[in-house]
């Protein structure tokens, strides 16, 4: 965007930690010249809860509920990644049915997370109604989760060696019904927001991240794919039989403006909802009968060693670096949070744009502060 405006005095504005559109307690110190933003500096840490330190003081199975609290919108994905890390280090073989259940849970959770992202992104551009529509469908998912394993936000579904609860045919039917309604309302979502001219004008060509820049800054997930890089760990570094499912990896194509703009990142998320429904359907069809938990000793001792496992979360690549000294507790547990790395690009792209664009850009990166601050 060419910056051609009347220069006046600069104002330093503190956006957050209590601001309606910073997704929690992010603080942006914005240097503005009138409506133009010349510099944006993010400050984080207001939600720091010492997750890594806690990880060193609890036993391996006991840390699983804490992972729920990282990216609380995609909690099952976090559970899954941590469990995969522990299982890989301990060499635990997970029953096939449990893996499919994990996939179903994780993908449903991904849809729920993207629905929130849809709603809040609409809200940031000033449209309130998408938020409620997104929540309407998310509630259905949460009700399915409640029926399945009894929690609505902090799921704790995956356990080391399997999952907590099995699904009944009734729940499977609920999931199939949900997929059907989701595909139907998805079109309404797009009519209401995605293709609305005002929305397109607000988001297209705003906060353009070229692919090289996205890789350089270590962006992952929809932010990376929005820039046109076709990279999805579910296909490229598969876990949980993801490589056997038939689904596309949506990438930003610059449909409304430049490749890598805010609209592309948003649109990648919207299309991932549909891809996730495909995965869930296939998983439901192919799921074998069998046990849902492997035999895991009550007091789990991991062999000495270290492992780095990464998973494709709704927000990007979640990594767990687990160091074991042979005891029952992790020696060191480093969490590579996708939002944390994605957020680090803000002061590079929130420059020479309007104040309203900063909000759109931060919204399109779709951060969860629970994960950024850990």
């Amino acid at each position: 965007m060419s910056v051609d405006y009347l220069h006046t005095h600069e104002i330093l504005v503190n956006m957050g930690p209590q601001h309606p559109s910073t997704h929690g307690v992010l603080r942006l110190v914005v240097k503005t010249d009138g409506e133009w933003v010349t510099e944006t500096q993010p400050y984080i840490g207001y939600l720091h809860r010492c997750a890594e330190k806690i990880g060193e003081s609890v036993e391996y199975p006991q840390f699983v509920p804490y992972t729920d609290r990282l990216d609380y919108l995609g909690a099952i994905n976090n559970n899954l990644c941590y469990c995969l890390a522990v299982e890989r280090l301990a060499g635990i073989e997970v029953p096939e049915r449990a893996t499919y259940l994990r996939v179903i849970g994780a993908e449903l959770n991904r849809i729920a997370s993207h629905l929130i992202s849809y709603g809040t992104f609409g809200m940031e551009t000033g449209a309130f109604t998408p938020f409620f529509y997104g929540f309407r469908e998310r509630e259905t998912i949460l009700s399915i989760f409640e029926k399945w394993f009894g929690a609505r936000l902090t799921y704790h579904l995956c356990r080391i060696g399997g999952v907590m609860a099995d699904i009944t045919p009734e729940i499977a039917q609920d999931i199939r019904d949900f997929i059907k309604t989701m595909r139907a309302v998805w079109d309404d979502y797009n009519t209401l927001l995605s293709f609305n001219e005002i929305f397109v004008r607000r988001t297209a060509d705003v906060g353009v991240i070229p692919p090289e820049m996205a890789i350089e800054y270590g962006l992952t997930g929809p932010c990376l794919r929005g820039s046109g890089v076709k990279w999805d760990l579910r296909k490229n570094d598969p876990y949980c039989f993801y490589d056997t499912f038939d689904f596309d990896i949506p990438v930003g194509e610059g449909l409304m403006g430049t490749v890598g703009d805010s609209w592309d990142r948003y649109w990648v998320r919207m299309r991932e909802i549909i891809e996730s429904t495909k995965i869930i359907e296939q998983a439901l069809d192919r799921m074998p009968e069998g046990a849902i938990r492997a035999k895991v000793p009550k007091i789990l001792k991991l062999p000495k060693g270290e492992v780095y496992v990464r998973c494709e979360n709704p927000r990007g690549e979640l990594g767990f670096y687990l160091v074991s000294d042979g005891g029952t507790k992790p020696y060191r547990l480093k969490i590579r949070a996708p939002s944390f790395c994605n957020l680090s690009i803000t002061n590079a792209i929130c420059k020479d744009c309007l104040l309203a664009d900063v909000i759109v850009i931060v919204g399109s990166i779709d951060i969860v502060l629970g994960e950024v601050d850990r």
Partner: protein, 354 residues
């Protein structure tokens, strides 16, 4: 109103004894009180409607708790607002901070003097009525800049400045689209303009059959009116996700209530003026009558049109995202202004030929 007073002055023996200035003063006060009461009642209904419409559009119920279907909710809210602590920020500019809400409210309230509801139900038949309506928006602009400046808050200042820029841009297409109608009527009074429209829908100015140019001008006026009342998609001065609450971020309690009241009053005003200028005002398919029945029918006509436009406003608000400031300005200057100028030109040619 004046006719009424003069009639009373000459015919009621008691009133002829007191100096007429007192009678005038008392009647002016009564008129103002009636308008104020009317606005308050209307605002309470509109706020309730807004929340109900919003609720149902968003697949929820809206207020349901206070009274059956929550109809007393707004009254409860109003009581809450007036009982709340009145906070005056110590770092604010006290004088500006205090007078700003009243100025804004005055700007929204004073135009009601010229709004007619039927041939004989009106307060004043000012002969520059339409201009008067446009002029009073100046009070709102200055009041909001004052609020933004007086609050001594950067977000509030942004809100005030955005509103000023917005008003400057949108007054132009608004005024020009009014002129498009005035070209046909040759009158600046709301009476004259309304009477120039027949009582069937295709005789109104909104009808493309009467004139395609006033049809366009009607839309331009309504859109500019949306911008003037800071409704979505033009709610930039108080954009919640950007400026927290914009110019009224630091206001609370009663002072906030005045802003709130002014906003809804202005909404009503824009809808009512649109209905008078373009939708035939008190003319409607209902049978015509004289006297109090005529007044009642006129009132029903005007109110039903106003409420329809109001519903469209709410409907738009809960559907659309917000524009960005540069898009807001270019919408006015690049689109509405040329379109309304074209419509004015076309209307002038049409009225000259036919």
């Amino acid at each position: 109103m004046r006719e009424l007073i003069e009639y009373l002055l000459t015919h009621v023996p008691l009133l002829t004894k007191v100096p007429s200035i007192f009678v005038y003063a008392v009647f002016i006060l009564i008129g103002a009180g009636v308008v104020l009461g009317y606005i308050s009642v209307m605002v309470i209904i509109w706020v309730y409607l807004e929340r109900k419409v919003a609720g149902h559009i968003q697949a929820r119920y809206g207020p349901m708790r206070v009274g059956p279907h929550g109809i007393l909710q707004t009254i409860a809210d109003a009581i809450k607002l007036f009982m709340k602590e009145d906070i005056i920020i110590p770092t604010s500019h006290k004088v500006l901070f205090i007078i700003a809400p009243f100025l804004v409210f005055f700007g929204a309230f004073a135009p009601f003097v010229v709004l007619p509801y039927s041939e004989s139900l009106y307060l004043s038949k000012m002969n520059v009525g339409v201009f008067y309506l446009l002029a009073l928006t100046a009070f709102e602009v200055i009041g909001i800049i004052m609020a933004g400046w007086g609050s001594n808050n950067k977000w509030a200042l942004y809100g005030g400045m955005r509103h000023a820029a917005q008003m400057i841009c949108y007054e132009l297409p608004m005024g020009i689209s009014v002129l498009t109608v005035v070209v046909f009527t040759g009158s600046l009074t709301l009476h004259g303009i309304t009477n120039a429209q027949g009582w069937l829908p295709w005789q109104w100015f909104i009808s493309p059959l009467k004139s395609p140019f006033t049809f366009i001008a009607g839309f331009v006026f309504y859109i500019a009116g949306l911008a003037a009342t800071k409704r979505v998609p033009f709610d930039l001065p108080e954009a919640e996700s950007e400026l927290v609450a914009g110019y009224h971020a630091e206001y609370s309690g009663m002072r906030f209530a005045f802003f709130f009241l002014a906003e809804y009053t202005a909404m009503y005003l824009v809808c009512a003026v649109t209905s008078l200028l373009f939708l035939g005002g008190w003319n409607g398919p209902l049978p015509r009558a004289q006297g109090w029945l005529g007044n009642l029918l006129g009132l029903i006509n005007v109110l039903s049109k106003t409420y329809f436009l109001l519903f469209v406003m709410l409907w738009l608000r809960w559907t659309l995202p917000r524009l960005r400031i540069d898009q807001l300005l270019s919408t006015s200057l690049k689109y509405l202004l040329p379109i309304s100028l074209g419509a004015l030109l076309g209307a002038a040619i049409q009225s000259a030929i036919f």
